[in-house]
Every structure is written in C-alpha cells, then in structure tokens.
Amino acid sequence: MPVFAQIINMLAALFLLVAFAMLTQRRIVHLINLYALQGAILAFSIIAVAYGTHQQSLYFSAALNALLKVVVIPMILHRLVRRLRIAWDRESLLRAPTLLLTGLVLNIFAFNTALPIEQLAGTVNRDTFAIALSSVLLSLLMMIVRKTAITQVLGFLSLENGLIFAATSVTYGMPMMIELGIALDVIVGVFILGVFFFHIREEFDSLDLHNLDRLGD
C-alpha cells in the first residue's frame, strides 16, 4: 500500500474519532474547535488524494473546504457564542456511555451497508466510504439527542462534512461548480442561523429548544 493511501486511511480514522468526540462534548467552545479540526482533517485528506492521483482540481476543493470549515464558519460560530454568552449545552437525552454504544451500533451498520458500494468504486481511498457513512449517521444521532439550537447546527455542519468526505472517497469529489454551490448554500445557511439565534434569544431569553415545542398538530 503506497504511503499516501496509508495517510488517507489514518486521516479517515481520525475523522471518525472526531465525530465520536463531538457526540459527547458538552462545552460549546470545544465543540466548535472539534468541528474546525474535522474540517482540517477533511482538507488534509483531500490534499492526500490530490497528491496520490495527480488531480489538480482537488487542491482547489481542499482549499475551499479549509477556508470555509477551518476559518470562516468556526470564526462566525465563536463570535456568536461570545455575543450570546452560551458556554454549556444542556444534558443530552442519553448519557455518554449509552450514546457511545449507540454510535458503535450505527458504525457496524454503516460498515456493512458500505461494503458492496466500496467494491464498486475504483478510487484509491474507497475504504474510507464506510467511515464517511458512519460519521453521517453519528451526526444525525447528535442532532437527535442534543437540545440546544447551536449544538443542532454543529451536528448539521458535521453531517455536511461527512457527505463531502463520502463524495471524495467514491468519486474524488463532485465537480467544482457543484462544490461551490454547496459551499455557498452552507455559508448562507450559517448566516441565516446566526440571525435566527438572535431572534430566538430575543423572544425566549435562551437558545434552549424546549421553548420551541409549543406548536402541536
């Protein structure tokens, strides 16, 4: 196995580790840093793939992802947290050990589902597809169990990281135009969420989502 492929596998393992760490981290500032770290791992693994396959366009994709997920979005989120003075998330629905065990079960499920698809891919980093799928599921789990608006958003953003990782592992990423479109949607989405936070805070004095549970059917 060439060195860059081993590096890709190691980065993928780190990517999954960060996804697990995000699942249980309750300090918001650390959670944002973990998100930035995940973005950095994503960017590095795209660079490794670009180096291994000599695809120039992947360097742009790596730069775009790094700029967005390591610099811009974490910066916006940190400013929001400071201005809204939120430090801790509330207790999640499940305790940490239960949460991690549930995560493991999802992992096994993802690896089994991904197996036939991986075999069809002709990419050097196809083994990482299972990890991408696991981290997508872990992010979904995080969105379900977390109770404040900002942690749900971080779950959503890390879900998007997982999707980009999946795209890189089976097809060396989407065409540039689409990646730009996705990046545009994500950045606009984060801005709108920032606006939302202030509105929610103004109206309810907290970002706790149990306030947002009045509309029945």
């Binding site: 698809i117 959503f156 998007e160 065409p175 989405g189 109206e203």
Partner: protein, 481 residues
C-alpha cells in the same frame, strides 16, 4: 432567450433588496413577476415551435415536463404577487412590518421564484440540489417574518428538518453521480439528458441506495408522512402570500425531483420496489393528513394539512406508474396548485379582516362579507374534489387507475378522501354560514386572483383544452421513456 427567465427574478431580488420598502415596491414586485411570466411564455413558445431544446451549454434543458411546471410556477408567482400587493400593503399599514422586513420580504419573494425555476429547468442534478436548498434558505426568514414565538419555532423546524432532508438528498445525488461516473465521466455524468440515456446501465445496487435517500430527502420537502412535521407550521405561520407559494409551488418542485429520480431507478433496478415505496408513502400521507384535518383550529393549518393529503395522492399516483396515472398526477398537481393558492388568498384576507385565524371565531362570512365567503366556499368545494371542478377529474382518474391496477389500495384511499371531506367541509361550513360575530370588512377585499384560479380549475374540470391534454400526455410519457 432562455437566460431571461433566470435574470429577471435575480434582478428583481437585488433591486428589491435595496428599494423593497418604497411605496411603489409592491407594484415593482408584480412587474418583475409579470416579466418572468412573459419570459416563461416565450420559452414555451420556443418549445412548442421547435421541440425540446438545450441552452446555456447543456446546463438547461427544456422539455414538456419541466416547461409545464415552470409555466405553472411563473403563473402562480404572478397571481400571488398581485394578491401580495393588496395584502402586504395592509400588513405594513397595520404596523406588522417595518421597512427592513418589507425589503427582506420582497427580495426573498423574487429569490424564491428564481430558485424554483432553476430547480425545474436545470439539466444538472447537482444544481437541482443547490437550488432546492436555496429555496429553503430564501423562505426560512420569511416564515419567521412576524417574529412571533410560534413563527420562530416554525421557521426553526422548517430550517432544521428540511436541512436534514436535503442533506440526505445530497447523499443520494452523490451516489447517482458515482453510479454514472463510471459510464460517462466528469461533469457530464450529472446531466439529466445523459442519465436518462444510460439509466439501464447504471449499477442497481448503488441506484437503489441512492433512490432510498433521494425519496426520503426530497420527500421531506414534499411533506410526505412521516417526515411532514415542519409543513403545517411553516405554511401556517408565515405571511399568507408565502403560504400560497410554499403550498402551491414548492411542494410541486420537490415532487418533480422525486419523480425524475424514480425514472432513473425504474430504468436501472428492473424491480417495482420504488413504486411500492412511493405508493406506501403516498397512502400514509393521505390517511394521516385526513385524520389530522378534523383536529385543526387554525384556518391556515387546516389547508396545510390538506396540502399533505393532496401531495400524498399525487405521490401515490406516480407510484402506480403508467401513462394514465402519470397524466392524472400531473393534472392533480396543477389543479391542487391553483386551488390551494386560491384558498390561501381568501383565508389570508379573512384572517386579515377578522383579525383571527381561529376557525371557531370566524362565522357567517356569506352574510356580511359575501366575496370572501364565496371564495372560501367554492375553493373548499373545489379542493374536496366536487364536480365540476378540475380536482374531481384528476381524483376520478387516479381512482380509476387504482381500480384497474392496485385494487388493494382503494379502501385506504376511499377512507382518506371521505374523512378529509367530512372534516374540511364541516370546518368550512361553520365559517361561511351561520350567525356572524364579526363586523363587515371596512373595504372590499381584492379577491380576483382567487376567483381567477378557481375559474381555471373549473375550466380544467369541464374540458381540458386539446393542446393542454396533448402537452400532459407528452409530459406523462417523458416519465416513462
């Protein structure tokens, strides 16, 4: 020529972001929508004269199927902008909207129209995804425009649930790209024209996974049960013109995406499970929505649940497949779109004039405010599928195909439609008849867009013009071949 249909609403969005709070901005909004409609008409004329065509380096492809949806979108956007002129002017006079919110509203109204038109006309499934997400983003802040606690909750739910839905759809899109990548390669493997051509050779394992994700993802935006929770809140809490376009148009666009992908799945899988899955989602939506209707106390939530029911019915019809079922589903989407926006126009005026959306407090509309009463009564009869309105024709066709092809589903559909009828008719009756407690509206409402839509639905029910019928047939055939 084709770029105009995108450039006009884009220009409108930018222009109104700056000048959207001027007294003439209401009319400017209508003018931009009218120009977009004219561009859509020109595009259609070209289609009818020369047949399907590609434009903008193959990134746009116009065929009878998406042109029909684009025309419907441009038309309902135009009539909604006319309604919005009267409605939003009153809202801003009563002080519910400050200039900043008015600019946001007008700008995002145009942006929303733009994203829907891109989603429909693009030939690229990646752009389709970007535009669908753009449609959520442009309307999220409009749902919470009034900043009430309920509207903030609705907007949050809308944003997060549709966000997750759309993320699943992105996964599905990546999988389709992956399947096609091996056969076509590069950017070209994202184009509908190529995908439709090679669909028989796409790997069934990948396309199967992809379709499951795409159905769940875009299905969230169609409002299919069990991923419908956001819909009644989002459609009920925003300003009424937005409710009308969300219910009347965005649901159609999302369902359009689902059926295009279903065609790929049909070609690749040689199995009927995508059909069964769509029928199951559709039936479940019809039943759950019908039983929820009876519990509604809010006039706009009532009609939102009715949207879930009707989109469920259309999804079920597409699930059955075949030329006639597809024809019926397309017709159903058209008449639902027209009738539902008409109902939102009238219920918006009713809520505005009576100062409440609570059904129990609205009564005797026919006595004091006959125009609003008739618009609501006729609209409700139309949406319930009473002859001679067009909804009757499409529901009758869907039931006929059900009897021939999927007899087992008939009792479920029958129960759903009957329960919906009883619930919705009972609610409407209490609003239009009886003693009134509310004063006569100070000024007569401008409800002609509402009556115009109902007249069109009536026309479609009495006899479908030959040209339209040929068009529907061509569009329905495109979903198979």
């Amino acid at each position: 020529m084709t770029p105009w249909i995108f450039l006009i609403p884009l220009a409108g969005a930018l222009f109104l972001a700056v000048y959207g709070d001027r007294p003439w901005a209401f009319a400017a909004n209508t003018a931009f929508s009218a120009a977009t409609f004219a561009a859509a008409a020109m595009m259609t004329a070209h289609l009818l004269a020369h047949g399907p065509f590609a434009a903008l380096h193959d990134q746009v492809f116009v065929n009878p199927l998406n042109a029909f949806f684009a025309d419907l979108t441009a038309f309902v956007t135009l009539t909604t902008s006319i309604f919005s002129r009267a409605y939003m002017r009153i809202e801003s006079h009563t002080g519910r909207l400050n200039p900043r919110r008015l600019r946001l509203y007008h700008s995002m109204f145009q942006m929303f129209a733009l994203t829907m038109l891109i989603a429909l006309l693009t030939n690229n499934i990646g752009i389709l995804w970007v535009a669908m997400e753009g449609a959520t983003l442009s309307t999220a802040l409009l749902v919470s425009l009034y900043r009430t606690p309920a509207s903030l909750e609705a907007a949050w739910k809308y944003f997060i649930l549709c966000g997750v839905g759309i993320a699943l759809a992105l996964f599905g899109t990546i999988m389709v790209y992956f399947a096609a990548h091996a056969l076509v390669g590069g950017q070209a493997s994202l184009l509908w024209t190529n995908l439709d051509r090679i669909r028989a050779h796409l790997d069934p394992a990948i396309v199967g996974v992809a379709f499951a994700f795409l159905l769940l993802g875009y299905g969230t935006k169609v409002g299919l049960v069990p991923v419908h929770n956001w819909l009644p809140d989002a459609h009920a809490e925003g300003p009424t013109p937005i409710s009308a376009v969300l219910s009347g148009l965005l649901l159609n666009v999302a369902l359009y995406a689902v059926v295009r992908f279903k065609k790929l799945a049909d070609g690749s899988l040689h199995s009927r499970w995508p059909n069964h899955l769509m029928m199951a989602f559709g039936l479940l939506s019809v039943l759950v929505a019908a039983f929820s209707l009876a519990r509604q106390r809010d006039i706009k939530r009532l009609f939102s649940y009715s949207s879930i029911e009707h989109m469920g019915l259309a999804t079920f019809a597409f699930g059955m497949g075949g030329p006639l079922a597809n024809f019926a589903a397309l017709l159903h989407m058209t008449v639902h779109s027209l009738t539902k926006s008409s109902l939102f126009f009238s219920s918006g005026h009713i809520a505005q004039k009576t100062g409440t959306q609570d059904i129990d407090q609205i009564g005797g509309l026919l006595g004091r405010n006959p125009a609003m009463g008739w618009a609501l009564l006729l609209g409700s009869l139309a949406i319930l599928g009473m002859p001679p309105f067009g909804v009757f024709t499409s529901e009758f066709l869907i039931l006929t195909v059900t009897i021939h092809k999927e007899l087992w589903a008939l009792p479920f559909l029958g129960v759903g439609l009957a329960v919906a009828f009883a619930a919705l008719f009972g609610r409407t009756q209490s609003m239009v008849f009886g003693e009134t407690r509310i004063p006569k509206a100070p000024a007569p409402p401008s409800l002609w867009p509402s009556f115009l839509h109902l007249a069109l639905v009536l026309l479609l029910g009495l006899s479908i013009p030959a040209i339209l019928s040929a068009w529907y047939t061509a569009a329905a055939r495109l979903l198979i071949h």
